[in-house]
Amino acid sequence: MSKAKKVCVVIPAYNEGSVINNVVTDIIKELEATSLLYEVVVINDGSKDDTAFQARRGGAQVIDHILNFGAGGATATGLSYANQNGFDFAVTMDADGQHLPKDVMTGIKKAQNSNVDLLIGSRLIDTAGMSKVKVLGNKGLSNITKLLFGVNVTDSQSGLRIYSRNALESLRWKTSGYEFCSEMLWRAKQLKLDISEYPIKAIYTDYSKTKGQNNWNAINIVKSLVKRRIVEIFE
């Protein structure tokens, strides 16, 4: 009989008190229906609201960041926790309710049945329900990621990712803001990790529209990525 796999669901959150409880309870409901050993970990990235309280109420383990370190920093903490506690897989997902729990489960199943190290849930394979502006911004960032780092994926900014044990042990990055999404792919490529994608559906509520990255943030991301690429030449 094969041993049940341990999965850690990491949810980086900053001021998500109004939705985090539902996100946590929904994903726990899906995980309960499987034979997986799981833990849902919310990284409360220095929130000013009751994110930590609501996440605990939903049944998550909460790691409180004393300072706000950004999405990249919070994700790094969550994956480091998963690595230190010997999880077989880790999943990162957004805290704003953008990802469907069934898409998370599909990803976990795919990762279990393959040797992929980094599996990305791509919102851009099927763009139905996504605004044209968001499609344009995300495609633009994916193209820039390809241009700067040579990583060819359809959705470089997706927050839904599944990491193998190998990726948990080896994958590290330097940026702490949203630009970590692209940098992580670059590091994975440098480490020769196997990267793959699968289609997911993104749910855009009025709430998640105000929380997500907008195309002005994209300019900051590009600036930071170009800077990182140049600095790396001298490292």
Binding site: I63, A76, T77, Y81, V231, E235
Partner: protein, 115 residues
């Protein structure tokens, strides 16, 4: 004579930079890749400096890059630029190291406190 002054002023800076790079590599503070790139960077600065004399000689009287002879101001300006490259390079490495340390420390404290 001016080129000798230029070399005398700048070679100590480049030597210290190269010594720093070798020391950091030998004490395992930097990776082999970073060591190689830093060595190449300073070797380029040194080569440019050494070849500035024949380059100036060649350019003098040759259009379109006709140049006047190296002035004392040029010597101090070049020295200042090389010194600034040295300082900025060191500062950037220290800033990156500090940033990484703070990030790792913050991460570990957060995980430990959550237990």
């Amino acid at each position: 004579m001016r080129y000798i002054i230029l070399l005398l002023l700048n070679i100590p800076i480049i030597s210290i930079a190269l010594l720093n790079v070798i020391t950091r590599y030998k004490t395992s503070k930097i990776s082999k890749r970073r060591f190689k790139i830093q060595m190449i960077l300073w070797a380029i600065v040194l080569v440019v400096l050494i070849f500035s004399f024949p380059a100036y000689n060649y350019l003098t009287g040759h259009s379109p890059l006709d140049s006047q002879e190296l002035s004392l101001f040029d010597i101090f300006q070049t020295t200042a630029i090389i010194f600034l490259i040295f300082v900025v390079n060191n500062m950037r490495q220290k800033a990156e190291w500090t940033e990484k340390t703070i990030r790792d420390l913050h991460q570990e404290i957060s995980i430990k406190l959550s237990k």
